[in-house]
Amino acid sequence: MSPASSHILEADGIQLAFGERRILSDVYLRVQTGQVVGLLGRNGCGKSTLLQTVFGGRHLADASVRVNGQRVVPAYRQPGLLNYLPQVPLLPERLTLAEAARMLRVDAEQALADFPDLRAQLSRRVGELSGGTTRLVQVLLLLHANTRFSLFDEPFSGVMPVHVETLSDLFRQAKTRKGIVLTDHRYAEVLPLCDVVYLLHGGRLEQLPPDPEPALRDRGYLAG
């Protein structure tokens, strides 16, 4: 993929209900190369389900995922199209960082270049690392993977504040070659990163104005 090529990922028709409770109701999500899209909402509002459905790991009838207008369901089967970081640990504990990078076809040295302390731990097993370090490594590997899109479910969770700043810079660099969707409750870190912000509320996905903070404050998502 050349750096200049631009791609558009769209997902719609996504509906999910547990009994009487409607989680997702005819959602439309769009992200393109060069964008970081923030997906905000309260716990249990369906953010993870939405990302998993877009990725193809969760099958929902009528869900449509398209890249440049072409249907791609399940999207994960298309090499080089997209990757997804779940909230739960991604890598088995017995895998070393170097092995994990090799499996994901990522240059580990390059991916961890901004974190010298991590580069020294390439031969260590995932299970030997702290939760925050494991999370950081997983984000870095998927961010550096050669995919057109990356979906991150709470990428900053457990990551040290000093690393969050560097990681945010890497997100900004990565968006020049891919489209990124992320969801996280750390709004102070997420909002400055985002080009587009969606709010998932009551099963509906609403695109917020370019300055989303007043709308989030009005609805009680940010402290006054």
């Binding site: 990725f55 193809g56 790991g57 399940p74 994960y76 089967r77 298309q78 090499p79 990757n83 997804y84 779940p86 739960v88 640990p89 991604l90 890598l91 088995p92 017995r94 895998l95 499996m103 994901l104 998927l142």
Partner: protein, 108 residues
Amino acid sequence: MTISTYLRALGLFYRTVAPFAVVFSLLIFAAAAAGPFPNWPLPLSLGLLLTKLSTFSVIWYLSEQLRPHQYWLYLNLHIAPWQLWAGVVVADTLLFSAVVLLLHALLQ
């Protein structure tokens, strides 16, 4: 997905499923040796293979219940769950057959 990636992923996945597979293989051996109809050492037969194959539905169920998030890495490698399970069924059944043949040759 390349063959080497698939085999590496299959190896990783098989290690997570192997404890269940070993337990059910041992149960088959125990039933043959000490069950109501002893048949020891076990001959490799179609019935035995079907019995072994039938245990995979239980192994699959237990695996889904105990590790509901086990597939995310493999999906990121473009490998569908059915591709992993197909590899596990083939590899474990071959291993089981080899052990049965070996025991039969040694004990008879």
